[in-house]
Amino acid sequence: MIDIDWGKFAIVAGVVLLASVVLPLFYSGGVRLLETAGTTSAPARVGAWACFAVCIAAVLFGLWVVVPQFH
């Protein structure tokens, strides 16, 4: 009987689906807000950069995962 760790596969699937919803949502949200902001609306621009910040944080987290020297 082969012992298969389905839990690990579930973790990978969960992480991937989460990343693929969160990143496109925030990045395209940022792009959209930037458009809405134009040159006038400061709150929209702040919102846009907050969205981009989430994406940058996700990339940095990705780097942290790749580089074992960080953890």
Binding site: V16, L17, L23, P24, S28, V65, V67
Partner: protein
């Protein structure tokens, strides 16, 4: 060390580096294909970035190398490796030949599966079916190979739908340049992750050989010169360019636009990072191909060329067994005598030369890599909305 063993070890190291080099130019497409297809990066810039990141990645992680050197081929009851350096050499020949055949055909097949297949074929022939850890094969190769492209594809599909909904089918101003940037960043992450997993595979093979030849202590990690040469080989292979496969991945499966490229690379990067963090030796190629099919399905009016996708799928199914057969045949001759060993090396070199000659007749390079890409019929984004 007697002469035969010395010759064998030298051959293994050389052929392992050759495999690593083919791995580099076979799999450049993985990370950078969509970026090149959408024009986010120029072809030469893309391969240089990928090459450098592959080299950097090679120095970073060792999780996958452990699976290679301990997960698939068993040790006998006294703890000795059941695979000999001559068998490893034969396995590498199988992997290199299959990798080059699929490269010639422009098929994004898995270099990892070619390597596993070659080693498994050689090990079965030399040491019997019992030398293979079949549960290791199922859990580290078969199941990830089935699940990873599926998961990445579904995730990329969802990502694509979200991106196009949020940006009114990417018609808002700045959408195109913004997604090009995002795509480049996510593609770079894929390239880095590729370096951490694929260069590791070759390091694992060389280390396994040095241990099997009793010149390195069992249970120790790769030596510095091994890490350095493997990193350079894969980086060089990547930078010299895998335009042949890049064209299939970036333009033949489905026309890719920058928002889709972003969704595809994000799903790929997440899949590769999450699974290599947990120690699965995933095929970067299969993950990226799965993502691209996903983004093709996720965009309205985009079409996935199922003929191309089917050919790629067939290539995946055949990769492991085909490399195993070549590996087994090579093993049959290689373990007979030193002359047999050298003969296999000579035949392999001739085979490689023939494939390169054939490929040179129908070259795919930085100039024609985007033939048939959406850029050739530009600005369909708004029209498709």
């Amino acid at each position: 060390m007697d002469t035969t063993l010395l010759v064998t070890v030298v051959l293994v190291v050389v052929f392992a580096l050759v495999f690593d080099f083919t791995n580099g130019f076979h799999d450049t497409a993985n990370a950078m294909a969509t970026s090149v297809a959408t024009g986010a990066l120029k072809p030469r810039t893309a391969v240089v970035i990928a090459g450098v990141l592959n080299l950097v990645g090679a120095f970073l992680s060792t999780e996958v190398a452990k699976t290679i050197s301990s997960g698939i081929i068993k040790t006998d009851s006294s703890g000795h490796e059941m695979i000999t350096p001559a068998l490893i050499f034969a396995g590498l020949v199988g992997a290199i030949i299959w990798n080059l055949v699929t490269w010639y055909l422009g098929l994004p097949s898995s270099s990892s599966h070619a390597l596993f297949g070659g080693l498994i074929g050689a090990a079965i022939l030399g040491a019997g079916l019992g030398a293979i850890s079949w549960s290791g094969v199922i859990t580290s190769i078969v199941i990830p190979a089935l699940l990873a492209p599926l998961v990445a594809g579904v995730a990329a599909l969802i990502g694509t739908v979200i991106v196009y909904r949020m940006t009114k089918q990417a018609t808002v101003p700045h959408a195109k340049p913004a997604f090009r940037i995002a795509q480049t960043v996510s593609a770079s992450l894929v390239a880095l992750a590729h370096g951490t997993s694929d260069a590791q595979k070759t390091m694992g093979v060389i280390t396994l050989t040095l241990i099997a030849a009793n010149v390195q202590q069992a249970g120790t990690g790769p030596q510095l010169w091994v890490i350095l040469t493997c990193g350079l080989a894969i980086g060089l292979g990547t930078a010299i360019g895998g335009f042949r496969i890049m064209r299939t991945v970036g333009t033949r499966i489905t026309p890719v636009e920058s928002p889709q490229g972003f969704a595809a690379e994000t799903a790929s990067a997440a899949t590769i990072l999450a699974s290599s963090h947990l120690g699965f030796p995933l095929s970067t190629t299969q993950v990226v191909s799965g993502s691209i099919v996903g983004v093709g399905l996720g965009k309205r009016l985009a079409q996935v060329d199922w003929g191309v996708a089917g050919r790629i799928g067939l290539g995946w199914i055949f990769t492991l067994p085909a490399a195993a057969v070549v590996g087994a045949v090579a093993a049959l001759v290689a373990i007979s005598s030193t002359i047999g060993l050298v003969a296999v090396a000579v035949v392999a070199v001739v085979g490689v030369a023939v494939i390169f000659r054939l490929a040179a007749k129908k070259p795919v390079n930085a100039g024609n890599v985007n033939e048939g890409a959406p850029e050739a019929a530009p600005q369909l984004q708004g029209a498709a909305a």
